[in-house]
């Protein structure tokens, strides 16, 4: 077990290093323009730009530049071109909103996905299944921001059920926190429900043909118990892995579209604003944050998952 964990952790660090190199390439090497102009800030004049160029070591070899950037990121001194603010601070500030959005949506989509996937699988081929499959397919075919705009139009304007925008922190007022987040939760959830319910459905259909299910039925267990205790439970395993990937992806920046439409001040909106200002440091910060979060989260899920799997827990040899 320990060897497994150690291997995964070293793998994780290697991937994180590679990510940082790619981010460096994207922002400092590939673009065709002089980064010093941007870094010197809104108020820069030619002398300041020259000073910053020297400061940044733009004449230094690439690996030195890379180390400078990494130092900035990890000592939390990366600052935005446009607002001279610390990028790390801003990401921390946006995190509660993004987490509220993602966790709420995740709960919603998992619950609905399990329900829909389960119903689809046990009624496979019949009307319920067909209807739910169509709904799922439509759900994964919708652009998230379009759905957000439509929901905004119908439920905040046509019928004034919910507030239009912005985020109210949980600590300020839990009821308003929730009411401001319901539409965003629904928006994010629709996309993933479709996908997850279909994966669950096909997993369940596969598992239902397995021998141990047949044994359970032969033992005389009521059908519902068979379905839930054996089929559903075992079908959930790949779902958990996928969930890890997606949850990480949404927190790591996938929520940007929902946050933009609903004006929720999370990490995603922070990155979205940086696009319009051509402000690269926030994008560097959020990209690294996002990628790191995904890799870290997945490693944790993998390790937990392995911990639950007795084959790995009990011995490396058994897993081979």
């Amino acid at each position: 077990m320990l060897r497994f964990v150690a291997r995964r952790l070293t793998g994780m660090i290697a991937v994180l290093f590679a990510i940082s190199v790619i981010v460096f390439l994207i922002f400092n090497v590939i673009p065709n323009s002089n980064p010093a102009i941007r870094i010197a800030g809104k108020n820069a004049n030619p002398e300041l730009i020259a000073r910053v160029s020297a400061d940044l070591g733009l004449d230094q070899p690439l690996w030195v530049q890379y180390l400078t950037l990494m130092k900035k990121i990890f000592t939390g001194t990366l600052t935005s071109y446009a607002s001279a603010q610390n990028v790390t601070d801003q990401i921390w500030r946006g995190l509660p909103a993004t987490l509220s959005l993602t966790i709420g949506a995740a709960v919603l989509w998992m619950v609905l996905a399990v329900v829909f996937g389960y119903l689809s699988a046990i009624h496979s081929g019949r009307f319920t299944d067909r209807a739910l499959t169509i709904l799922s397919l439509v759900g994964i075919s919708m652009p998230v921001f379009w759905l957000a705009a439509i929901l905004l139009y119908f439920f905040t304007f046509k019928v004034q059920l919910f507030p239009t925008s912005s985020y109210v922190p949980l600590t300020t007022d839990p009821l308003r926190w929730a009411s401001h987040l319901i539409l965003p939760w629904l928006t994010l959830a629709v996309l993933y429900v479709g996908f997850y319910s279909r994966v669950l459905r096909s997993n369940m259909l596969d598992v239902m043909n397995e021998d141990y299910v047949r044994t359970a039925r032969a033992k005389g267990l009521p059908e519902r118990q068979v379905r839930i205790r054996h089929v559903l439970r075992n079908s959930m395993i790949p779902i958990v892995t996928l969930f890890g990937l997606d949850f990480g992806a949404v927190v790591g920046g996938g929520a940007i579209l929902t946050e933009t439409v609903f004006n929720i001040n999370g990490v995603g909106l922070y990155a979205g604003r940086a696009i319009g200002s051509l402000d690269l440091p926030p994008l560097v910060g959020v990209t690294i944050f996002g990628a790191f979060f995904i890799v870290f989260f997945n490693t944790v899920v993998d390790i937990l998952y392995a911990f639950l799997d007795p084959r790995i827990r009990l011995g490396e040899a058994a897993a081979a």
């Binding site: 290697a14 991937v15 590679a18 990510i19 790619i22 981010v23 994207i26 922002f27 590939i30 673009p31 065709n32 323009s33 941007r38 397919l137 439509v138 994964i140 075919s141 919708m142 652009p143 998230v144 921001f145 379009w146 759905l147 705009a149 439509i150 905004l152 139009y153 304007f157 996908f195 994966v199 096909s202 996928l242 997606d246 990480g248 992806a249 949404v250 790591g252 920046g253 996938g254 940007i256 579209l257 933009t260 439409v261 990155a271 979205g272 940086a274 696009i275 319009g276 051509l278 690269l280 994008l283 560097v284 959020v286 990209t287 996002g290 990628a291 995904i294 890799v295």
Partner: protein, 345 residues
């Protein structure tokens, strides 16, 4: 060569005694069988047809623009008027309200606040979005196939390195990677050695979207190639002295073709969604060019008073992506009913 997933074995018939009428047994290729299965799936065919209709409509954009609407997608007609039932109506009224949809050749879907013909923009925008979707899917496919073949066949250190690179690219949230690249390249464009792409060139989003999805396709292909590699026919080819590249192209590639076809179709759908997201955020197609994503961004500003400007381009995306998804599913069921191919999300 026998394909590994053939359903029907073509058996050699022992010679029959003469004089007995022979009922000819026809050998059926797996492709023919797949086609049969697909033809039975009416829903998939219907949606496939829908996709073709959408593509044809969008390709016909210049015809519509020239002969029916008499304008171009970017032309502003703010102070012009058109003839509606005998009276001259302002395309954009003095207080800024654009004309709404109506049954006529010009401004069929109404105008936007710049006096542009929404129908014309919709068709041209479709061309752009479809073009980006198909070309980037093609790029993804080509790169993924090469990577998958190389990894699966050679294994060893080539596999180790390429797989690690794939893992790293996979770790990035797709949207954020697209935004990062799109914004970084916006200022000065991209110099590719032999040419420089301007910051607003449509090839920048194409390249970005194409590269971002490579791991999603390369991994499954690699997995299949790894499995195929162990089969006897590959061993036989090696024994025959065929070179590696020839083996990859003539032995392995044909057997992953069905996977490739399915992934390619589903990938177009994903790419179109990503393009619309990037364009909506301002990191994809640049204004004033039309794409379905930029049209939604424009329409969003007036969503409360002219919701059709937002709803219609989005609906086009949904229909196109949905038809690709349904048809892609149908293809998958037809080509591999044992559902070995699973597109990782």
């Amino acid at each position: 060569m026998a394909a590994p997933f053939s359903e029907v074995e073509v058996a050699d018939e022992p010679p029959l005694p003469t004089g007995v009428p022979l009922a000819t047994i026809q050998g059926r290729s797996p492709w023919y069988l797949a086609g049969l299965r697909l033809r039975r799936n009416k829903v998939a065919l219907a949606f496939g047809g829908l996709f073709i209709v959408i593509v044809l409509l969008c390709l016909a954009a210049p015809l519509w623009a020239d002969h029916v609407a008499h304008t171009t997608p970017d032309a502003n007609h703010i102070t012009d008027t058109i003839d509606v039932g005998g009276t001259q109506v302002d395309i954009v009224s003095p207080d800024g309200t654009p004309i709404g949809p109506g049954l006529r050749g010009q401004y069929l879907l109404g105008a936007d606040q710049n006096g542009r013909d929404v129908m014309v923009r919709l068709l041209y925008g479709g061309r752009t979005s479809l073009f980006i979707g198909v070309v980037s899917a093609a790029i993804t496919t080509i790169v993924a196939v090469v990577v998958g073949l190389l990894c699966g066949y050679y294994r060893g250190w080539i596999d180790a390195i390429l797989s690690r690179v794939m893992d790293v690219v996979w770790a990035f949230p797709v949207l954020l990677l697209g935004i990062a690249l799109g914004t970084a390249l916006a200022v000065g464009g991209l110099s590719l050695g032999f040419t420089t792409l301007a910051g607003d060139s449509v090839w920048i989003p194409i390249l970005i979207i194409g590269l971002v999805y490579v791991p999603y396709m390369a991994r499954p292909i690699r997995g299949e190639v790894l499995a195929l590699r162990e089969k006897e026919f590959v061993e036989a080819a090696v024994a025959q002295g065929k070179g590696s590249v020839r083996i990859m192209i003539t032995e392995l590639l044909p057997n992953v073709v069905s996977t490739i076809i399915v992934f390619f179709t589903l990938n177009i759908a994903n790419d179109m969604l990503l393009e619309s997201a990037l364009s909506f955020l301002g990191a994809g197609v640049r204004p004033p060019s039309a794409s379905w994503g930029t049209m939604i961004a424009d329409g969003y500003q007036t969503i409360y008073t002219a919701p059709h400007l937002t709803i219609i381009p989005g609906l086009m995306i949904v229909l196109t992506v949905l038809s690709l998804n349904v048809f892609g599913d149908g293809l998958r069921d037809a080509l591999d009913p044992r559902a070995k191919i699973r597109l990782e999300h």
